[in-house]
Symmetry: D2
Subunit: 344 residues, 4 copies
């Protein structure tokens, strides 16, 4: 069985997903596209030689009985209504982050999905599909390092452009750690405090960079997460979990080891695209497979999208207040439990 | 365009390729299978829910006009005739190693293909599709370490069964280094000498293990290649190229870094299957893509299969003689030049 | 010229220094010892076959005209009066940490030394003599990573005994980071906040373990320092400095690299003694050399001892309050400037 | 007790030993020096402010009843007669390599020492005092990797001057591996074969560089040792021992780990002096300590010097012949057994 997919939003990320579904993965077929920019939609169909209908809007695309699943890659503010419409139509949804731009919006999706009675929605947090994070989670679950007590993480970009503002360190960057860290330790966030260290000269005038987030969980795990988006030296994702018996750390991205010029060195990536390339493929293949074989996606849920939104709000608040801010998360509904299962 | 594939041989490796083409990759479809064991062929079709014809033999399968390309995963002695038949029918061939069990057999295939006038055959040397080897080759081609002078390589298995004999260190194990090393440095082999170090107690009585191969190339590069198939500690592939300006080495297989029990450690695989899993996927996807898009495969050629056979023969001879044996390779025909191009 | 040394306190650390001065280093000679336990003093003289006078107390030892320098290795509360007496007598002093048990005590020593007009006192912070920290400081001073912005450090012990209390995480453990981190970046501390993560089950009931200290400097550098004294896996000292251009980290303690049992591993020490063994030797040799050749010690000064005491007090206060506490350090007197010079 | 030392030869290495005995180590005192260049001898005494007699030649120096031990740091061809004279006088000798320039010369020293009836001579092979090699030997002796089967080693210099000839790859460079490798595995050499890979463009016209030595031992261990003295990238010593249970490798020289410019790197030394600096100190301190405390040196013996000479001769012969050459070593006399004991 082939999953017939409609894509809402044919911008960069939309086209990447179209390309991977069409040319790299198995079991999915793009049968419909739409974009606010009609020309872009048409060009995409031509570029990838798709046998796909072009719709004027998401409503029409969702209504197409040939569409089994909707991939939402429009701009953020449009996500909520598309996802709600897809749920209403009983169609599967793969929605790029954010699920909705507000916690309330995410809540509405969660409620719609629960009302529908079956999981339809997967949110595009791809790190859970990265082999390094998967190994790290297995190491924790196999109790190799004992109960987790502390996490040190870093999210570093070589540089960002002038449009990147201080709050985007949360909403665009930290958001990935927000999703992956609670999943890693199967725990819920409780509070966050933000510290602004001495600012790098490479950050533009309106941007605080680097930033240090201290996030505490219900079980008392303390997570020190650094966001440093003008670190100059490369794209670098670090995550180290300290437990009662030992410490486990993400592997470095594999690279040829060179002895040259009085240095023993390996390469560090300069672009995030390469770092999670394979994770994106695994993520989309898993969405296709679990939907076609199990009748529901098994990746990050709408509830995970809601967690991300609530936590993100508290982090932005903490950036402004300088105080420890509460992350007020209700307990996960029964519907969304077992979220910590290894998905791959 | 979908590449319609017939599979000759539905044993373990055949089924793996069927699975990957059907469930993981894009652009290929299994339309026909055959196996000397009819029951196995039928079971395979059922297991993977294939919409595929079951043929009594390779001749019938090749004759099916729906078959664009043939994947040869039968046992070694059957390869040559299937490949020759496919070439005669003008069909693309992906043939697992060995291309043929003798150098003469490989030669016949090379000649048939040249006579046909277009490249049809790819041999299943998957290492060229491993991201580590690809990085290593790029490092050399980008002249980062200068002209290559020496290579140190090792191929280690934790253990082998009682059927593994001394010559299989060449034909089953070293064969992968034979293919990948000349490709890495774009050079031809000239001679080989074998040394038997002190034997490990874990090798059964008929097997010399470890073995050290010293291979020299036309340009004078000396390659020290260790084959150690009862090394106990894991499956481990090492390759280090020393050049005039520096030294480059394959990355270790990425693994979580753990501090525990007074050790800082990363995992080593215990099974070769995991080591080149991704390379197999990339290899088959590349075969499908290059055949459908460029009209010919761009991976290891029949000539590479011939090089492997000639070199393998000399290595086995050197095991017996204890002397330096010549590897008598004619210059590659124009038809097969440009073999060193990066394929991925 | 040989430096004639009197040792006050012949306990474990005293005997180690006696041993190294007598049997490993050059230019020093133990000519006098004293200890509150007379038997211990006598046994020490015999054990190391010293040609040394045994004095009833520090006053008598200091008064001996044969004594050029005093090594203070008594218990902490006795340090201040011995150091003050030695300064009064114009003798050089090497005092193990703490210089005095209170900031006021340290201040009195600072004032006495300044009044004396010449530097006489070195405090036993040996990390500045560790080759790893020296390399790290050179890396920073050579501007290889640009201006320092953040530090991540960890001080981990496998286990501590029942007498180790929560405040000792500061006074016994963090104290080394307190000394070495401001020296590394040539900056002064400004504030500290302490966080208690989930407690490890291996900590006894009265002890909070691990602990996380967030220390900020005048220039805005944020230092996240973990103290984890029941980490189980080994003795491990980590320090990583993030700057505007890159990040530099202490080397791991060198250890044979082993491939065995599906692991690639290096050893981690289980005892702090081995970690800084060589640093202790270099430290004492440097004290002897600089005193005999330059007429004053060039290692950590009385002012550094004062900084450690003031900072330590604030850290203990922050453990109790849970709040950010100010570290109120006056500017260093002219007398103590140039403290950031590489001493080795 | 202080060991009173006379130094024969006040060139570079002689002065370094004088400096370390005088200013860094314990228990030794330079009481006499001599050099063919009288001015150099006098300058050395002044430079290091020695209280030492200056003798016209080694005979006079050895005759001085104040001299307990002789350090031989003259040029190679003079070693034999000085060592023989010292043995005759019953004085301890620390002789820099080579013990004598011929195997016969070494044999004469061995016989003289045995006739004397007590071990007096230590040869200056400092690698056995390097902490990395010591750890590696302990790893083997503790049976952590099982019986050794193969060794891979490399001795690389960034560059050599025009006076360095092909045979010096053995006599100046490989000589250190010759000493340390048989000690590591407690075995005797049996044969050697040399291979000349493609020559680096950085080697001058008369020099073959790199060179590959294949040395086999009595137990069948095969050692692949690379000498590469124009490797450009740095001074690098590698040694990896493969055993039946696992593989152990020398640690890299410790160095700060830096993330910068898209590279994760550590430094490689550019000069051999830094690599074994500490080993030289430990070596000389051990000579002083064992002589004064045990009445005989416990480092590399005259027999080790003889092994080095015989092996070195065979290696040079193999460079010329291109054939496998026998290393004809008699069994060690009882007098020299137990040579594999850990000395530190």
């Amino acid at each position: 069985m082939v999953l017939r997919i409609g894509v809402v939003g044919t911008g960069a990320i939309g086209r990447e997903h179209i390309n991977r579904i069409t040319n790299k993965l198995s079991g999915g077929k793009i049968v419909a596209v739409t974009d606010v920019n009609k020309v872009a939609a048409k060009q995409t169909v031509e570029q990838y030689q798709l046998d796909a209908a072009i719709y004027p809007d998401d409503t029409a695309l969702i209504a197409d009985p040939n569409v089994d699943a909707v991939v939402v890659t429009s701009w953020g503010p449009a996500h909520e209504s598309t996802v709600l419409a897809a749920i209403k139509a009983g169609k599967f949804v793969f929605c790029e982050k954010p699920l909705a731009t507000t916690a309330e919006g995410c809540k509405r999706i969660v409620e719609a999905e629960m009302k529908h009675g079956k999981k339809l929605v997967q949110v595009g947090f791809m790190r859970r599909y990265d082999s390094g994070y998967i190994q790290l989670k297995k190491t924790i679950e196999n109790n190799e390092i004992g109960e987790p007590l502390m996490i040190r993480a870093a999210h570093r970009n070589p540089t960002v452009n002038e449009n990147y503002t201080t709050d985007m360190a949360v909403t665009d960057t930290l958001i990935h750690e927000i999703d992956v860290l609670h999943w890693l330790v199967d725990d819920d966030y409780n509070s966050v405090q933000v510290l602004f260290p001495r600012k790098t000269k490479y950050a533009h005038s309106n941007l605080q960079d680097p930033q240090l987030f201290t996030i505490e969980t219900n079980k008392g795990i303390v997570m020190n997460v650094e966001v440093f988006v003008n670190c100059k030296y490369g794209y670098d994702i670090q995550c180290e979990v300290a437990g009662e018996e030992g410490i486990a750390k993400l592997p470095e991205f594999p690279s040829v080891v060179v002895r040259k010029d009085e240095k023993l060195s390996t390469g560090i990536l300069n672009d995030w695209k390469y770092r999670f390339m394979e994770a994106y493929n695994v993520e989309i293949q898993d969405f296709i497979d679990s939907v076609t074989k199990n009748g529901e996606p098994q990746g990050p849920t709408a509830w995970d999208g809601y967690i991300a939104a609530v936590t993100s709000d508290a982090c932005v608040k903490a950036q402004v207040s300088g105080e420890k801010e509460t992350i007020a998360l209700p307990e996960a509904p029964e519907f969304y439990r077992n979220r910590a299962k290894l998905s791959v």
